[in-house]
Assembly symmetry: C2
Homo-oligomer: 341 residues x 2
Amino acid sequence: MSGLTVALDAMGGDFGPQVTVPASVQALLQYPSLNVILFGDQQAITEQLSLLNQLKHPRLRIVHCDHVIANDTRPSQALRRSQGSSMRMALEAVAAGQADACVSAGNTGALMALSRFTLKLLPGVDRPALVAAIPTNTDHKTWLLDLGANVSCDADTLFQFAVMGAVLAEQDLADKPRVALLNIGEEEIKGNDLVKRCAELLCESPEIDYIGYLEGNELYSGRADVIVCDGFVGNVSLKTSEGVANLFIDSIKNAITRNPIKRLVAKWLFNDLFISLKRLNPDQYNGASLLGLRGIVVKSHGSADIAAFSNAIGEAVHEVKRQIPTKISDRLEAVLLERHY
Amino acid sequence: MSGLTVALDAMGGDFGPQVTVPASVQALLQYPSLNVILFGDQQAITEQLSLLNQLKHPRLRIVHCDHVIANDTRPSQALRRSQGSSMRMALEAVAAGQADACVSAGNTGALMALSRFTLKLLPGVDRPALVAAIPTNTDHKTWLLDLGANVSCDADTLFQFAVMGAVLAEQDLADKPRVALLNIGEEEIKGNDLVKRCAELLCESPEIDYIGYLEGNELYSGRADVIVCDGFVGNVSLKTSEGVANLFIDSIKNAITRNPIKRLVAKWLFNDLFISLKRLNPDQYNGASLLGLRGIVVKSHGSADIAAFSNAIGEAVHEVKRQIPTKISDRLEAVLLERHY
């Protein structure tokens, strides 16, 4: 295979091959240089490929795995008992250089533990972080991290998250990314010791364009390109956003779909509204990345549909092309040297 | 004055008397047994009353205060230099028994510190908590706490929050309130030490109908009547919700108001939609309460408009009628006794 290769955990997520296989075929169409290796139950995968009449796709191959990591498996159990599982074999393909990135919609805790175990951390990184792009009411997106890889962390770890997030964000920007800390007030005196200490570190670092604290209501304002918080806060705030977005989308759907005439009139009248609401749909920005590893790992929502899972594959392709891990490693080395002298 | 009396910090919030005075007049109309004492600059208040032609309202009186606590005043400064300020004098009126509750849209940190200093904590309470009702996609609301009174706390404090939230919630319910902890996963193994330890305490307490962990996307699902978290997480998640809600409301307003014909057709067709969107507007549920004190204190949004500030006064009236502090005190005593034997 030439071009770039993504190793897919075909069994992960709420729907397994029913979503991961059609999403792979869709991504292969979209990216002509992409190769996909599907790790999972050969029969289940073949059935889906056959439905799509894609049994002999030249850029797709299957590696059979007997075993799947369940959603309730603890990370520690996953480390001990994951040999031969689709998730672990996909990660091992990246570690062995057979693939450039791994994508999975499986158990998040297991994926983080196994990623760290098989791929290892980059030098200068204490913990990996889960990062995703969120939409804003401006033209560009904001990267939010950590989204749940670390339930508690210290100021140095948060600082590393800021550096890693900035590397990811600057790929799409002309200027230095604006980095903010998520806090419960914008004034310097607000917040807990963790954010205050991290703010000091960020202020001292000329490599980073630190713009201060942002509150939850500014997450989607586009005021920052990177917003940093610990994994508990990041996870709650991202999931809260999804909850509110779904509440709105459901209200609108209910009001409209109950009546077919209303539906038609609504489509005619508010086409631009639906486009902008679609932009706020969490599926549109599916694909959270695990940063800080010696390899690329993208985590999809468990409940992702075909389009959303295909977006996650697209995120992996993007990161492979931009060589994110190498860039993070170089930047961290520069920042730490700078702090040292 | 007969009936119940609310002491208002007339100077707090982004708009001061321009909002607090008309909101008081509106609340006086709505609650015939309500008396209001406005604490603040006599001249500014009188000007507003004169505009409303309410200079001689029989249930409204003014207590002049020279001084206002600024929004960037630290809690520690507020404690030292707040004598004679509108916020402190309103709280002192409650402490002295001249009023039954205090409402302020001023500096949150200062209000919490001064409330604790002037009113004192109830026995069995380690820290006060800020609680608010949030809308759900069911018929009843959910109480979320803590919303920022405590940037970090221990499991016992979270447990007390659960008890206090349950007392507030059960006033409107036929059954025992369902209490949940906000976490980053629903499985028992998920989360940080704080929530795990608090979950143990809640499981051991037969007084509380503890239903387990809920994730951020379930905040507005109506699955729980009370959701408990620390103040950092609660504040970020509430403000994040406001950010997302405003993003949606702005998108809808933009799509509709740009064109007057669309606006008319939209109103005619989607009246039920607008009602349900209005329900999700943060102003509708303005009025967060400080629980755990020997008195009733309601915090309004700083940016509240007249209707929103009037809702905050309504919340204070509701809590006075239900004698919330006494009920919290009795319940905590019962729960702690139960745990002791």
